[in-house]
């Protein structure tokens, strides 16, 4: 979706809020929020794609005025309500339930963090459409839901510099469909191609793009 989250190149945001001494969390609730979001995802099967989609659905003014971790809280609450896990305004009733077997326990957490959640999929059976060195053009694609194609790249011409293998297609995952794996390529763009002739010549940018986002030049 062409949401406010897709902000690469937007003007008017002003100075960067640099704070060299800031704590990891400005308030304790921030830490609890990100930890909770990570933990509940393991049980409920929420992926980053699901979180991002909910965050991207915030109205532009809400997105911009919410703090970073507040967006996570909103997304988590919405995902849990959509999944029927919690209801609006619900509070704990009756006896506490026993721990769900999928819950990540403290003892298991360090190993879970060290393993992470690798998303790359086996690719021996897949035939890549593009090779390193190929000249490509970003398709003029619009998706109604979650996507990972920044607006600033539509129609721009670049060169494939890496083939990273197969990854689940975020649009499919966020829409609740099967993973629909596609190859992801790093594509190199000259700054002037993207931002026009007044941009510094020689500067460049790279974005990682799913195969569906690209066509041959």
């Amino acid at each position: 979706m062409d949401g406010i989250h897709d902000m690469g190149g937007l003007d008017g945001f002003g100075k960067i809020p640099i704070d060299h001494d800031e704590p990891i969390f400005h308030a304790a609730w921030e830490g609890r929020a990100i930890a909770l979001a990570t933990m509940i995802s393991a049980v409920e099967g929420f992926t980053d794609d699901h979180y991002r989609q909910e965050i991207e659905r915030l109205a532009p003014t809400d997105y911009l005025s919410a703090t970073y971790y507040e967006r996570w809280v909103v997304a988590m609450e919405r995902l849990l309500r959509q999944a029927g896990v919690i209801e609006e305004g619900e509070s704990p009733q009756g006896d506490a339930k026993p721990l769900n077997p999928d819950v990540l326990l403290a003892a298991d957490l360090p190993a879970a963090i060290s393993e992470g959640f690798p998303r790359r999929m086996p690719d021996s059976a897949s035939v890549p459409r593009f090779a390193v060195g190929d000249l490509v053009e970003v398709r003029n694609m619009r998706s109604p839901g979650h996507a990972r194609l920044p607006r600033y790249l539509r129609g721009k011409r670049g060169q494939v510099i890496s083939d990273h293998g197969l990854f689940p297609f975020p649009e499919a995952v966020a829409a609740g469909r099967a993973e629909a794996p596609q190859r992801v390529y790093s594509v190199l763009f000259q700054t002037q191609e993207v931002w026009g002739p007044d941009a510094p010549s020689g500067d460049s940018l790279v974005a990682d793009l799913w195969e569906a986002y690209l066509q041959a030049q």
Partner: protein
């Protein structure tokens, strides 16, 4: 609701209550282990942070074989030093040199290499950084007080997919005699994102 609409105190009070209510509900339903929540916070506040990345950089500066492995497969190479996993499962390391200065962003959200840098700073996740660095990196670098050498070109890496990016800064002049520990002390978090030279 925003931090600007109310003073920080009352905003944080409201959010504290909101998150506490959610955690209580989920705990009551047996869906979360609060001790795991406590530990997650502790790990990212005290253990998993830029000192990890600094060790990787120092090793790469000291050992050409390690540097080659790091540039070929970042995730595999950082695992040699015991770093791995969440938000760095697929890691690409980009090297600054005399011709190129690299800088990393996630214009669409906040993707960041947690295993080597910990959690991202507020500025990295901010609208000004995300909007501006992809279009005017030199202006952003100036705000960070970074002056690039003559003829150095800038390459911005937008973390739009599942790859996470990490900058290998240039080894400072005059650091030849330093051991790995001293070298690691030279490396800053911002140097590994690209908003500092080292």
């Amino acid at each position: 609701m925003s931090e600007q609409d109310h003073d920080h105190g009352s905003y944080n009070e409201v959010m504290t209550a909101r998150v506490k209510a959610l955690e209580s509900l989920l705990t009551h339903k047996g869906l979360v282990d609060s001790a795991a929540v406590d530990l997650f916070i502790d790990l990212y506040e005290t253990k998993i942070g830029p000192r990890n990345g600094a060790q990787v950089v120092a090793r790469a500066w000291s050992d050409p074989g390690y540097k080659a492995r790091l540039l070929a497969d970042g995730a595999k190479a950082i695992a040699e030093l015991g770093f791995s996993g969440m938000e760095s499962e697929q890691l690409v390391v980009v090297e600054n040199d005399a011709q190129t200065h690299n800088i990393v962003v996630c214009t669409l959200c906040s993707c960041y290499p947690w295993a080597v840098l910990g959690l991202p700073p507020t500025w990295y996740k901010s609208a000004p950084y995300r909007a501006r660095v992809i279009k005017e990196p030199r202006s952003v670098l100036a705000e960070f007080g970074v002056a690039l050498g003559e003829g150095v070109q800038v390459r911005v890496w937008d973390s739009t997919a599942d790859l996470r990016y990490f900058v290998l800064p240039r080894r400072p002049e005059g650091s030849d005699k330093l051991d790995e520990k001293a070298l690691a002390d030279l490396v800053t978090r911002d140097g590994m994102i690209g908003t500092a030279l080292v």
